[in-house]
Symmetry: C2
């Protein structure tokens, strides 16, 4: 077990920072490549985690390529992290060495703003939560994500992971899972409700699983006949071919909630017309171009176009516990880190069912092979 | 009192249709001009009303000029109608001759769909409510609005009007009033909430009055220094000059609800960033171009862009009763019908405080002067 500092935030000689193998984007225009980072020695409230698996999120690509602006390079992406605790700081009460642990999209927040107090740390306004990568912490240090062998995180932003579930398939729950779970819970999508899911990727397939588990009548929208069988296997009660105007029209005014997981620019107008009174179309994908919204589609049914970002720490734990209880994980394809650039290319072609997960053993044994 | 038909929907010889002076748009490209219409003889459930005043709504212009498409010509606009009951059908229980009465944006709906049953007839889905003008009723007859001397409407779509209030200034409550009252009530905008109002016209000034009456902290957005004093007089606690980036930034993340009453194409992105977590920006104006909505503004605070259309009949009565109790009416400028085209031109220049109301006496005495 690592010795920890006597004074919060101060590193001692007995707990030096750790050189850690990672993969990073050195610029917006270069591929992800081997890189060495330093992880801080655990402070009293810190948990040090040996990373076992890290999911690959579409936002990794957006940020590594600076498509949202403001990216910080070098960047070590990855915010769907599952691992095992290697050591804890002196003040840590929630974890001990050997525990399974997860880290999602954020590693800290102000803890005093209204949103933090409400357990909605993802909406921290002071000025915003410290994200797991491509962010700066309270000390101004750049954060590095899960494309690496270890990470050190304040215990309050670390999740407990059940040993009942496949660990690699659990990793994507930390972002894709909570991002779809949270809005379905917030808007009470369950029995007696009709839920639509737009997009059948990392987020979409989790939306199907949760919607089904919550008892909603779940409709998958897709442009592709080839996805019908898969969507039904994942929990869809119906599949609508969204390019078929007659099929779309037959569902007009019937949806309580539509979860839009599409992160490429796309049209939402046709879907707004499928909402019933007080229906909500909620964006969880993040297209980098503004949406075009015809106002009459909202006025005519008191509809809302909403957005939702991940979920709070307590809700993320609730989601993980729900998944453990109901046997819900992501459908994944495991890759060694050396295939990350190929994985990005395949994700952009929607050629993955449904989430790539990095086996970080590949990083430990040969990071320089990349 | 008019004799009514023995059989519902059937007119008898003793109650002929009535020739009624009106003003109409004969095409999208011609001014509003004198026109003669026929009002049906009252059926058993009908109330015949002598129109005293009719407010002039921005949507009158949109529809008279076919800017939303699908306009039916000749068109007699007007859906902010206050008058006095001249006769009632045999089955009418809620009104009697001599009563004050109001008619708003709709004169019928299916009465059996989920929305009608819920008292939200404005969202009738079977296929939609019969609007007061520019619509077709269940028999396929075109409806004609309040730019006329009388109207015949089923009693279930007629409102009681208090004699406590100025009648001309009450007319705009039937559309501008309920359109702003309903979303503020639906989203519980009251004490402890911060409300923003975009636009200071017919709708906006009613939003200020209701927001103030409900106890919210009310902020008017305007581009014009000259409107500050007026907005404060109408109920604004603060006025923000929306073109002043520093002023806007100082309100970032603080609004529970923003009521957007602007019916011209405009930018909403800057306002979405002023919402706090779970905040709602609600459109009640109806720009004829789609809005451009940056998704991150929604995701970062679980915000919603919503729309709301008028209100149900019961809620409209509730609003009218609230106004009578609290002494709330519209600020108006009265005009004879012969000035309607000039009024339209002035509305398009925002040159009215804050609603034109037609005195239909002008129509009775000299419709052909137009």
């Amino acid at each position: 077990m690592t010795h920890t500092a006597e004074y919060p935030g101060k590193q001692t000689k007995t707990s030096p920072a750790t050189q850690t193998p990672a993969f990073a984007a050195l610029s917006a225009k270069t591929p992800i490549e081997p890189f060495q980072i330093e992880r801080r020695a655990p402070r009293p409230n810190d948990v040090a985690i040996d990373i076992l698996y890290c999911g690959v999120c579409h936002s990794d690509i957006h940020q590594a390529r600076d498509e949202w602006g403001g990216s910080i390079f070098p960047m070590v992406p990855g915010h769907e992290i599952v691992g095992r605790v290697s050591s804890v700081g002196t003040a840590v009460r929630k974890f001990k060495a050997g525990d399974l642990a997860g880290v999602g999209c954020m590693v800290d927040s102000c803890r005093v703003c209204e949103n933090c107090k409400d357990g909605e740390e993802q909406y921290c306004t002071n000025p915003h939560a410290t994200l797991t990568y491509n962010s700066r912490d309270k000390n101004g240090e750049v954060t590095y994500g899960g494309y690496s062998t270890s990470i050190v995180v304040d215990e309050n932003y670390v999740l407990h992971i059940s040993d009942k579930l496949d660990l690699a398939a659990t990793a994507p729950l930390l972002c894709a899972g909570i991002t779809t779970y949270s809005p379905l819970r917030h808007w009470n999508v369950g029995k007696g409700k009709k839920l639509g899911v737009m997009g059948l990727g990392g987020l979409g397939h989790m939306g199907l699983k949760f919607g089904h588990a919550f008892g909603a009548h779940v409709v998958q929208f897709t442009t592709s006949q080839s996805k019908i069988a898969d969507a039904k296997k994942l929990g869809a009660d119906e599949v609508v071919i969204s390019t078929d105007a007659a099929q779309m029209a037959s569902h007009a005014g019937t949806f309580d909630f539509i979860l839009d997981t599409i992160s490429a620019p796309h049209d939402v107008a046709g879907y707004l017309n499928l909402l019933k009174r007080d229906g909500v179309l909620c964006m969880v994908g993040a297209p980098d171009e503004p949406l075009s919204v015809p106002v009459f589609s909202l006025l005519g049914r008191r509809a809302s176009l909403a957005g939702s970002g991940i979920g709070g720490i307590a809700e993320t734990q609730e989601m993980l516990d729900f998944c453990a209880e109901h046997g819900i994980v992501s459908d994944i394809e495991m890759i060694p880190i050396q295939q990350i650039n190929e994985a990005y290319a395949r994700m952009l072609r929607n050629d993955v069912k449904y989430r790539f997960v990095i086996d970080t053993n590949s990083l430990k044994s040969g990071a320089v092979q990349g």
